[in-house]
Symmetry: C2
Subunit: 248 residues, 2 copies
DNA sequence: GGTCAACGGATTTTCGAAAATCGTCTTGCG
DNA sequence: CGCAAGACGATTTTCGAAAATCCGTTGACC
């Protein structure tokens, strides 16, 4: 069993898709950055077909933009789309949370508590050491929010939620890249969890809304403070290509 | 200006994508039908690449399913996924409607009224003549529902809504294919519109919920009455490949 | 008779080259 | 000098063939 890669299903296309998506979400590929096929071909070691197919799928998900005969770009960011995204997340997560509380059984409760425990531990580690563990933390954070809504029993809503979460995580990664320290939101997560476990739908949704709203405001603020995003590590992107416009 | 095709943006991929999506939504390609690349190549007159790219995008949208090394199929249907879809539509359309009522101005009102007028006229034509105009009607029906939420001012929610609408329309097309006469729901649409124009959010959302719920029930019933779906016009699909299972 | 491995056909997946397209620069003309 | 037409370079888009994979089947061996 060659356990070498994190997520290599089988086909090259699947692997490339996962890698590019991860790189975009983690802002290893910056917003608005041009995605030349030749460059991607070198970077991911694949032919044109798998890469183009992966990019098409990401275009459908909204993580990359495609212009006719002009190629692909990482989706741009703006204050408008940030708040649009976060507002939608509030609603969608609210729905998923409501249904999850309605349907969730003991397993759901147990998984949720376990996920919170892992998250809180990783949050402490994250605060003590430098920002090298943010990958680990992001994983636990994602797992916790997934556990919250895991019992909602609606593949449609869950798929939508997952997609919005990806996009939100990208904004958070961008905020961290701009030297903004991550905020300590363990207490917020605990409040959501406790309300959910108490089967208090209204309180849980309100707490979730607050959580997302605060994240949105924090991200918006930290991006405003760093209007010029020219030289970021590990990318030969020109200023023009990766400039982040908060205006439109 | 060669106005020959309905929707031919520019690239072959875009055209193929629109055609396949339309064919799936209209059930010209039946649920569960296998999509051999060779067959699609003949049917749409294109190479492998544009077709595969289009299918990848449709896979991301959820209209086709992709199995590793086993190719593509039109997404299957089931009672569970029908109700999952419709339940999600109720919620998403509710959100979009609420925001649209909050934000909509006079233009929104005017467009909505105009869309309803066209819809009601086409509904009468549709009842008088045989089912040859259902394509026209579907277009107006789609336009009306879009006009309802057009002012919601959230690209994210609108994109999600559009996708769910496509999937719902496919179920309705399937229902019509099973010789089930379309129901006369002009009154329902009028109720939604009037509540929206009166800025009565609660009543509008309730009417919308009722409308979707009734459509779901109607579709579910007409599909149950036609368990065997083997020989449908214009397709050389074997019974095994296109059988519609309402069980799972 | 039953089980397992290897073979063959069909299809997917991947590749790299050819064709088409766009933006830009240059050139020629008014 | 200004402007339009044409050509060049870079990149996308498309194509068909080659490689890889899967499934069903045959055949051999226990």
């Amino acid at each position: 069993m060659p356990a070498q890669q994190t997520a290599s299903d089988a086909t090259l296309q699947t692997r490339v898709l996962a890698q590019i998506r991860a790189d975009i979400v983690a802002c290893a590929l910056l917003p608005n950055q041009r995605l030349t096929l030749e460059t991607l071909r070198e970077r991911y070691g694949a032919g044109f077909s798998p890469i183009r197919e992966a990019l098409m799928q990401l275009a459908a998900e909204g993580l990359v933009q495609l212009e006719q005969n002009k190629g692909f770009r990482v989706a741009g960011v703006s204050r408008e789309s940030l708040y649009d995204l976060m507002q939608a997340r509030i609603e969608i997560d609210g729905i998923a949370l409501r249904w999850s509380i309605d349907n969730g059984g003991v397993d759901w409760e147990a998984d949720l508590i376990a996920a919170f425990h892992r998250l809180s531990r990783h949050s402490k580690l994250r605060r003590s050491r430098p920002g090298k563990l943010s990958g680990e933390w992001a994983k636990e954070h994602r797992a916790f929010h997934h556990a919250l809504v895991a019992a909602c029993n609606s593949p449609t809503i869950l798929a939508i939620r997952e997609n919005l979460f990806d996009k939100a995580e990208r904004y958070v990664a961008l905020s961290i890249l701009s030297k903004s320290p991550p905020r300590n939101d363990v207490a917020e997560h605990e409040q959501i969890m406790e309300a959910a476990l108490a089967r208090n739908v209204g309180r849980a949704i309100a707490a979730s809304r607050e959580h997302i709203q605060r994240t949105a405001d924090k991200v918006a603020k930290s991006l405003e403070n760093h209007f010029e995003f020219s030289k970021l590590p590990g990318s030969s992107v020109t200023a023009r290509e990766s400039r982040i416009s908060l205006a439109g």
